[in-house]
């Protein structure tokens, strides 16, 4: 279920979530009337950023409000800053470290929003405040809940009540790097969980070992990817780390179309165990996160990553892949 503030006026027309096909259809219909000029997006995550881009492309004047220091707070702020800049380059006005406090409406229609710092006019307000698990029924049935109210499951996706199974945005995951339960509402996780639950429901045997927290998105030409734990999660867990941020190119430097890529790698202080990685860059950047994600699953140290035999040819990569350059730099800091 999408998170929605319970301020007065939240049901006014022009205030939308984008969480079902139907909500997308309705938003399209509203935009097609041609009467919408000023859009305010609340939330700097995947949905917020994708909607901000879509509205700019439709010719709207777009503002985005987030309570975080930079958009995309699943990245560390130094990497999120690159994404904030990409949005500004697109023409989006950012209001960082601000909190939505009120909707302004007139005759059942939204006319603006208020934050803790300002008022903004708006014909359209899009809420991208994340989701929470829709587990009221499960709770009422006495099924034990876990992280953020999601349904606690074992490795086979069975709930605390034998014979009742859960998978998808209502269910908890296990994070393989923090070794803690975690709530991640992503389609990939839901899909893999569903496969495991289905096999078990059908009398087979399968387990879902857990996630490393991989996600990718793009804002126009800028690709964004993350995996593992970020600095604030490491701090909360009491894990000490080193980090390296490097700039490289998506292809050999002399090859036409080579674009900039920035890679951050986090490794445990001392042991060198890879803890996470973040990527912001041009075309060809984002899916490089898969190398880091696979290395996380493998429990590799950054030292072990230096000699990974990755694919190289000038149209695809520098001789040293950017993720390996970042691992190499992190290894120097252990």
């Amino acid at each position: 279920m999408p998170v929605c503030p319970d301020f007065p006026g939240a049901d006014a027309s022009g205030i939308c979530g984008v969480n079902t096909l139907q909500s997308g259809v309705e938003l399209h219909r509203l935009l097609d009337t041609g009467t919408v000029r000023k859009g305010v997006v609340v939330g700097g995550g995947y949905i917020g950023l994708e909607m901000a881009e879509a509205l700019v492309r439709r010719g709207l004047e777009v503002s985005l409000i987030t309570h975080s220091p930079e958009v995309m707070n699943t990245l560390d702020a130094d990497m999120g800053r690159l994404v904030s800049q990409a949005l500004r380059d697109l023409g989006v006005t950012l209001y960082l470290e601000e909190t939505l406090t009120d909707f302004v409406t007139k005759k059942g229609k939204v006319t603006g929003v208020k934050t803790d710092k300002r008022s903004l006019p708006a014909d359209l307000v899009i809420l991208g405040l994340g989701v929470r698990p829709n587990t009221g029924l499960a709770a009422a049935a006495g099924i034990p809940l876990g992280e953020k109210g999601s349904i606690r499951v074992n490795g086979r996706m069975e709930t605390g009540i034998a014979g009742i199974w859960a998978a998808g945005d209502c269910a908890e995951s296990f994070h393989l790097i923090s070794c803690r339960p975690m709530y991640i509402a992503l389609g990939t996780v839901a899909n893999r969980q569903g496969r495991v639950a289905g096999i078990n429901l059908g009398g087979g045997y399968a387990t879902f070992p857990g996630v490393v927290g991989t996600a990718v998105t793009k804002i126009c030409q800028v690709e964004v990817a993350r995996t593992g734990l970020q600095e604030k999660e490491l701090s909360a867990l009491g894990i000490e780390w080193v980090s390296a941020v490097i700039k490289s190119r998506t292809k050999a430097g002399y090859y036409p179309g080579a674009g900039e890529i920035t890679v951050k790698v986090l490794a445990e202080r001392g042991s060198g165990r890879l803890l996470g990685g973040q990527i912001v860059g041009m075309e060809g950047s984002a899916k490089r996160i898969d190398t880091l994600a696979t290395a996380l699953h493998a429990g590799f140290t950054v030292e072990e990553m230096i000699n990974l035999d990755l694919g190289y040819a000038p149209p695809f990569s520098p001789v040293w892949d950017p993720v390996v350059i970042a691992a190499r730099e992190a290894a120097k800091l252990l």
Copy 2:
């Protein structure tokens, strides 16, 4: 050193290798005279294919001769066939399973080639027959040689004579999947070996654990990648395997620009240990080999690969990444 047949006429003008900057400059100069109409490429590997594409783009009538059943014999024939087709689509005439037997020359200039099956006219013959290690000096100095005459080295890149080190196209590598020495003349390997040799020469300590045999290239829009062992290598090693070949898309099916991708995964019969992978597909295909390469380094089974937490968003991938779909299919065959 490039492999060159020692037939009479091999030094005729119009017969070129492409192995140094200077040989590239000379080839350019020859093509710029505008007198070259018919090009024959000998060899179906990386250099042969890249040169065939380059000559077609220059407007030449291009033939390619290879002794293998399909071009790119570092892929299994079923995957190589896709690359052969890409070359034919480009307008290259292929002569498969044919062997160069002679050069035809007139007044010191090449006018054609002969194979075991035919004669072909040619103004230009490009040799892409691979390289062999340039180790005459090392052999004369009594340094022990290994695979294909390359210099045998230990994990620190030290030769059999203490204090003498080797790295690059003259040196042997260790293959992490076959657990055998192997000769691989690729820039990435040379670069990583050079780093290790340099650290050790400078009094430090570093080891080069070995390679998994990853390589990528492209022919126009078609991207090609391979890692690990291919079927003929597995046969020679006495390893039994299962394989799965799947077709998927590079992006979500409904997303603009989604292209076809074919992935083959090889896994050990019974254990399910990943042994190798091959990819042929449109833009965004080749670097997916890095996930398979990293999984090879990790010693993953295909079963373990099913739940890899890889990046998904519609512009980048189907919900199940094609390499994971292939691993999942292979796991069903164990």
